[in-house]
Symmetry: C3
Subunit: 259 residues, 3 copies
């Protein structure tokens, strides 16, 4: 069904694997559009309660395939963002489910943006994040200009963006760009810990909180207090809330269905 | 005068102690409304130049009393936020005086929001902060969706909000959620250092700066430069400014009156 | 040409040295207006591809010269900001070139704002940053209320602003206020590493990224994705991009001209 990526759905988990390992999972047209499709599928599939994005082989994703570009005449970079990359980033941020980035290797350029657009990220010790755009005279895209300063502050964002500095997994953790670093052989266990949790979590409440955090940075306190009340009313009418309170009273572990 | 809390005003300090230690200072209706009253009293009392919020017993505040909720039929969570919690958070952020959180123990749910809504926080080594909402299928409220990402960045905020992770005082310090950690027996000294300072500080200028920081995150540079000029003109007409410059010229310590 | 500062232009670098060492490079009227002029000159000079701001002698900049103020009757602080300081800060943030702060010593008050308004900062181990305004009953100005919470988060910003705490270079690095600390004797080498890079970098793309980061904090994701596409189209039509892709294909180092 897909050529440039793999989609596996199992045990409440939708796993998308960028699958062009010979090209360090660089985005060509096909992979961009398949990614859009795969995200739509996991979004609408009620069995999927957590999404994992990762790469096949050594790299996570090396961004735009520059060889594809260098052959094309008069290619509009703006068009490419509107048609290929921005829909991916928006689908990820609007996905009403948590997305875990399993950063198995280098995440460069649009691949770095893809990592930063995940809700949580676990990286292999051998992984690195690089905003390589400047190396060919380009600017941040695919959302990096939005995510980066919110994660590392203005001063560090300017440095990483304009110098194209390589950030190791450990440095990324210290800077707050990612959530966890694991030795390569422990990466799957670290991701499994998260998918075990999120596949049995109150998914509706988590989707509402994702919306709240998306909205927070450009809203003032009054707006967020109102939005919290609006979302809490929805969460308070969910089956998971009834179960949560019941389990609390009965002093047992709740069994959340995600609705 | 109050049943569920203590209010002590002395030496320029207004100290509010949540006082339901047998319930880990969980909010019931009474404590919410008394908190609103207490905040009004310290706001308008000209003798109070710094406010301290803390908890009696082992906990700082364990948030909403879930037993109170589980008994009530058809309780609207939205109503509860509008009537009980949001006025507390807004009163704290609009208080023209610094508020120091003395985090003596666990701060959970709305109790965590209460801690984050303080201007500065000093925590006991034994204290912890937990966004427990998700554990019963609820979402962040009482301002946590506003404060949390501004303190720890998006990636960590998503983790703490959706996993309900327990953050120790030391971790909270490393993440920038709080200002200081002290051994339990040194907590009062650490708070006293701050109240000694703020009770003799230029309170008017501090209130203006609190407004500036409240406004900063949703404003652009031009707006903030204009607001700085507006506030600096007010500060420049205060008695404390005259005293400050005079003391500078005379090479002595200024005696600020807070006006 | 200038009395209170030095302007040197060489090898693509425009270096501005605040030159009132006997007054710790405090701003008097003359230095403010000369700074505005110097920033205009480096902005419009096509030979300048990176700007350095530093101080002569022991201090970086001690902010407003309080002795100048204490002598003046009915001086409007608001006027002073509109005429003297705010144009400097705006010129720095609108400069289509990277600005490196070489923080050789204390940066206090408006001097601290000046340091924070740079795109990147390298500080001597002996340097420190202090928001001294509160010590004379004043509020943050010259942009510090915009920059500070975006660099260190709300809780720490309140502490530094209202207590006037001295932040050593190492602490500033840990807090994300600056980019690098160097032993005093290594400061020039550390700055040279940056000017070597930026004087041969794709300056147009860097100027666009500076605009993007300026805009990021008060914009939502959709706005930034659109702005990225707009800027990427411009970058994609630059000579530096053609050279960047060409060099990539030919597996050689690109020679960027900055246009």
């Amino acid at each position: 069904m897909f050529n440039a990526l793999l989609l596996e759905i199992e045990n409440g988990i939708g796993k998308i694997t960028l699958n062009r390992p010979d090209f360090y999972n660089a985005f060509n047209d096909e992979m961009s559009y398949e990614m859009q499709d795969a995200l739509k599928q996991v979004a609408k599939n009620p069995d999927v309660r957590v999404v994992v994005i990762t790469g096949a082989g050594k790299a996570f994703c090396s961004g735009q395939d520059l060889k594809a570009i260098s052959g094309a005449k008069n290619r509009s970079l703006s068009d490419s963002l509107y048609k290929r990359y921005n829909p991916i980033i928006k689908a990820m941020r609007n996905m009403p489910k948590p997305i875990i980035g399993r950063i198995n290797g280098v995440a460069a350029g649009a691949g770095c943006s893809l990592a930063l657009a995940c809700d949580m990220t676990v990286a292999s010790e051998k992984a690195s994040l690089i905003e390589v755009f400047v190396n060919v005279g380009l600017v941040l895209d695919s959302g990096s200009s939005y995510f980066l300063p919110r994660l590392v502050g203005f001063a560090k964002a300017f440095e990483l963006a304009t110098m194209g500095s390589k950030v190791t997994a450990q440095e990324a953790l210290n800077l707050g760009m990612i959530n966890k670093v694991a030795p390569e052989e422990e990466l799957d266990n670290a991701v499994k810990e998260l998918t075990d949790y999120y596949s049995k979590a109150p998914t509706k409440a988590i989707a509402l909180m994702k919306n709240m955090l998306n909205k927070s940075f450009h809203s003032d306190l009054e707006e967020m207090l109102q939005y919290e009340a609006y979302c809490q009313e929805i969460a308070g009418n969910s089956n998971d809330y009834k179960e949560g309170v019941q389990a609390f009273v009965e002093k047992r572990k709740p069994e959340f269905k995600g609705v």
